[in-house]
């Protein structure tokens, strides 16, 4: 127990929690936008891989970091466009298309990596985003390093959370998006285009997923590795459910989740952790995700038209 308390009182732990949560926040918000509009996007895992590679590759070939983020977002939106075209106007199974997009995005990324860097054995490094320390605030014990000494992408993640929440609840666009996820016929009857809303949501959402992936290569680490996304996309889908499709709650879920993750990494290095197979620690994120799904199973307010394709005129 003393080990856990010690970890919880260290500033580096809390800084790590926020850092681990950041990519999850981007991708969770992206998935949440898709699902609120009525589309389950199982392409998330592959889109994160593509985003991680595209952003990193852009920077490696000489663009600025923010341009890299934009490139990642663009790559994500491209896959989002493919997903949306197949699932929205054509109404194909969101399960099959999503998994197909994940396979396609992942393999296309690996192919592009091999083409771009045919000779290398270990991937080259880039100069990633550096922390911006907010004067004074970053000196606050525990909270300071966690909240005010992060990279700009982390700050962006939190700003985005507020923006997404406000747009969804306070603007005509958000109202229309939510309605598209609740009853597309109502949207159509009021003269709006369900197809347009849903496709837009999937594209923007996919863009955010890709930025989540890019966080890994451009802020958390400085290189691209195969398998680096490692199920984070699936975890984000669980986080959307855990957050009951609300941005604020989903982000709290991401932080909670990151806290467990950071804790298990640190516990591994304690004497207590040495006696337990490390695989059990590594399992915790996945087990927690399943647990989160089970806990929320009865309560969650699923968008009523999630996964229900809409075909005009055939009501």
């Amino acid at each position: 127990m003393t080990e856990i308390v010690e970890i919880l009182l260290s500033a580096s732990f809390w800084a790590a929690v926020v850092r681990i949560a950041s990519p999850l926040i981007f991708a969770t918000l992206g998935e949440l936008i898709c699902e609120r509009a009525g589309v389950l996007n199982l392409g998330i895992e592959g889109i994160m891989v593509a985003g991680a590679f595209a952003g990193w590759m852009a920077v490696y070939s000489g663009t600025g970091l923010w341009t890299g983020v934009a490139v990642a977002m663009g790559a994500g939106m491209l896959f989002g466009l493919l997903h949306a075209t197949l699932t929205v106007p054509f109404g194909l199974s969101q399960h099959v298309v999503g998994l197909g997009i994940t396979l396609l995005a992942t393999s296309a990324t690996y192919y592009a990596y091999r083409l771009a860097l045919p000779e290398v054995t270990s991937p080259p490094r880039i100069e990633p985003f550096q922390p911006w320390e907010v004067p004074l605030l970053s000196d606050i014990p525990l909270i300071g390093p966690a909240l005010f000494a992060q990279t700009p992408l982390t700050y962006l993640a939190f700003v985005l959370t507020a923006v997404v929440a406000l747009v969804l609840t306070r603007t005509p666009l958000g109202l229309a998006l939510r309605a598209a996820g609740e009853n597309p016929a109502a949207v159509e009857a009021q003269g709006l285009s369900v197809t347009g809303l849903r496709m837009g949501a999937v594209m923007v959402g996919s863009g955010l997923m890709a930025v989540g992936g890019a966080f890994l290569t451009m802020s958390a680490f400085s290189s691209f590795f195969f398998e680096m996304v490692n199920g984070r996309g699936w975890i984000c889908i669980a986080l959307v459910v855990f957050g009951a499709w609300k941005p604020g709650k989903a982000v709290l879920g991401a932080l909670l989740f990151a806290a467990f993750d950071a804790l298990q990494v640190r516990l591994q290095q304690t004497p207590l952790g040495a006696d337990i197979p490390y695989q059990l620690f590594l399992m915790t994120p996945y087990v927690l995700s399943i647990l989160a799904l089970v806990l929320m199973s009865r309560r969650a307010a699923v968008p009523a038209a999630l996964m229900v394709p809409y075909n005009r005129g055939t009501r």
Partner: protein
């Protein structure tokens, strides 16, 4: 745009569109080969040659197809019931684990008893692995896509833990691998002198059995009814949850047979890299076969051929072998679209 049902689609539509989808896939592939600075025709030629150009290549393809038939069947039967089992990878490893645990536990049984015992244990283990997510689905309404996906990661870590712990081969020079099955317990070759084991025959038998179940039995009828319209099925008195559980046991068991066959027929022991994603590729195999059990055999051969061919092409032509995965993912998406368009036409307004 709007989709309008086609009442009686003609032959040109039902065959032409899927053919077009495959053609489109290869156009995409050709563009990728060009991007790699190689000649598409030569590259595709090398893939075909690598997949079926020699006896060795053809046998390699058949061997690679064996686990894919099992996982393809597992997914086809589950998707038939709209049970989204994306966890065939985990079930495969469960089957492999059961095979290794039983096969290395010095029971002293004759091989003729040992093979069915190991296969049976594998089937049970695989079924149980899928049972968890399915019970969560029917009891609590937890979406099985995410749980089965997450189970894959958990199972791989679990296998890794066992391979570095209780199952570790003491003679393995520190590598995380299990003890090998005794020679007698390995599945024999189908034909003496050819590198193809009985697992392939078992896969073919499994495909026929699944086909018979789907078309000739009440269980098959129930599975199809539940998948097509669970509300109507429940109303008509079909015990939907029980059918889903049976489907799960069948599907998980089939995927586990892939693990059994790989361990006892090909590898002899269990390692962390026993499956290069056979569970996920099974989704493509099943979808390309339109979930038809006999079609799964054909599409597994096709998919295996592309993988084996791409591996050998990659060594020769320098185009990354990941092109195989891209081709298959593209084929999957193009095919589901083509199948939709055989039944619906796109109309304006």
């Amino acid at each position: 745009m709007r989709l309008e049902p086609v009442a009686a689609p003609g032959l040109a539509r039902t065959l032409g569109l899927p053919a077009l989808a495959l053609a489109g896939t290869f156009v995409v592939g050709a563009l990728l080969v060009l991007a790699a600075g190689a000649d598409p025709f030569a590259t595709f030629g090398l893939i075909v040659q690598g997949a079926a150009g020699s006896k060795f290549a053809a046998l390699e393809t058949l061997n690679r197809a064996t686990p894919l038939i099992f996982t393809g069947l597992a997914i086809a039967v589950a998707f038939r019931a709209k049970l989204w089992n994306i966890g065939a990878e985990a079930q495969l490893y469960a089957g492999a684990l059961a095979t290794v645990v039983l096969g290395t536990s010095a029971l002293g049984l004759p091989p003729a008893l040992m093979w069915p015992a190991m296969a049976g244990a594998a089937v049970i283990a695989g079924g149980l692995v899928l049972l968890g997510p399915v019970l969560l689905k029917v009891r609590l309404g937890v979406d099985e896509v995410v749980t089965t996906l997450l189970f894959n990661f958990i199972m791989l870590l679990f296998v890794s833990m066992l391979l570095e712990g209780p199952l570790k081969d003491p003679m393995g020079m520190g590598w995380p691998k299990s003890e090998a099955l005794p020679r007698d317990y390995r599945l024999p070759r189908l034909v003496e002198g050819l590198r193809l084991h009985w697992g392939f025959a078992l896969a073919l038998i499994a495909a026929v059995v699944v086909w018979l179940i789907e078309t000739r039995t009440t269980l098959g009828y129930e599975i199809r009814a539940v998948g097509q319209n669970a509300r109507a099925a429940r109303f008509a008195g079909i015990p939907v949850n029980r059918v889903l559980v049976k489907t799960a046991l069948l599907s998980g068991g089939l995927a586990a047979l892939a693990g059994f066959s790989e361990v006892s027929g090909l590898k002899g022991n269990l390692t962390q890299d026993l499956s290069p994603g056979f569970g996920y590729t099974g989704i493509i195999v099943a979808m390309l076969a339109l979930l038809h059990p006999l079609g799964v055999v054909v599409s597994a051969l096709f998919v295996a051929g592309i993988f084996v061919g791409a591996d050998s092409m990659s060594r020769a032509a320098g185009v990354p072998s990941y092109i195989a995965d891209i081709l298959l993912a593209t084929a999957l998406l193009a095919m589901v679209l083509a199948i939709l368009l055989t039944r619906f036409r796109v109309v304006r307004g």
